[in-house]
Symmetry: C2
Subunit: 217 residues, 2 copies
């Protein structure tokens, strides 16, 4: 769920489109490793489990693609998608809540592949402060504002327990964070200038169970 849509005058790309393009990029890179050079949109779409019409629509949103039937040069497509997604730009990320989930996210290979780097972790737990997880130092939450400002960090991953999530979100906003990837099962209240994307694992599981149950009966 998104807090609000992009309200600029530019064309609006849905977060769903962006997610599909990210997935395409990952798959294309894998194909490149396997020395594949050309791919049809049908083939690529089938890798993504979307219709090829949907896939072409996604790409045509950006006005750079749309040749039908010819197939795409994988190298060129990777470059275009990297431009669209801004993969060459490094984004520094702060992570709050260095528990097990936090540690798992610091180690998660999926972020670094996109040139997104968790540069600092924060916690209030004295046992955790000072630890270094895969090269990422766990700092005292009291230093959040100073470090976020100094390092010009705009994005944070929030994975604290539910009880403290709202308070932490407020601290993040006050430190200058503009986007929060929220893993805590809480709807955060933030100012309209801040984006929140919720990764709600429990709700995803409920959605799956519901499908299963109604299919099975």
């Amino acid at each position: 769920m998104r807090k609000r849509k992009n309200s600029s005058s530019k064309k609006y790309f849905s977060p769903e489109t962006i997610k599909r393009l990210s997935l395409s990029l990952r798959n294309l890179k894998k194909l490149k490793e396997e020395k594949v050079e050309i791919i049809s949109s049908d083939k690529l779409a089938s890798l993504l489990n979307v219709s090829s019409a949907q896939f072409r629509r996604d790409l045509s949103c950006f006005g750079k693609f749309g040749k039908r039937g010819v197939g795409y040069k994988i190298d060129r497509l990777i470059k275009e998608l990297e431009d669209i997604l801004g993969v060459k730009e490094e984004w520094k990320i702060a992570l709050v809540g260095a528990g097990r989930l936090g540690e798992a996210l610091i180690e998660f290979e999926g972020f670094s592949k996109f040139n997104r780097k968790i540069v600092y972790a924060f916690d209030i737990d004295k046992e955790k402060i000072g630890k270094v997880i895969k090269g990422v130092k766990v700092e005292d939450m009291r230093n959040l504002k100073e470090i976020v400002k100094r390092e010009n960090i705009k994005i944070a991953i929030l994975c604290t327990p539910a009880d403290s999530a709202q308070k932490v979100a407020e601290e993040l906003v006050s430190a200058g964070i503009k986007g929060i990837l929220n893993f805590s099962p809480v709807i955060l209240k933030v100012p309209p200038s801040v984006f929140v994307t919720n990764v709600d694992m429990a709700c995803e599981l409920e959605g799956l169970i519901f499908l299963l149950k109604n299919e099975g009966s």
Copy 2:
């Protein structure tokens, strides 16, 4: 992303609706703990960051609600939502890949609140096999089929490294698993009778960055 829609003759509820209702239930339970007894749909919708029209539409999907302006008795609403979501039914879950993310998910309080229980974890790593994480035993992957069948487990959480995800998915399907919550950054190929819900953390982050970038520029 959903592998396919519910193809039964019953009314189709979108996974998005189910996710919102799950979230509503969680919020209602919190309000109940705070001794609130009645809530207006406007208030509830604002807790969920959806319009009150959207929220009433969600509920009216199920044909049990729809009184406007009166407000909902929280107890009754909790009961109805629990019925719809099937929260009273316990669902047993197998988790494959007992790394850091796996451990974090075993400890994740969000699942157990909905009466969903990870009953076994599986791994191929001898260092992990035999460990007990919060009461959940890590079993040898070789015992997957036997245990899944014996315990009649229908749902699995897949959090292995990307390289082994497809192979593991095939083993899950062959063991009788009908729904997979997939945390690995891979599109799984499974038969049409099996549902897959992807929790793609890297793509979520890309979506967030894209919003931020286009807002900021």
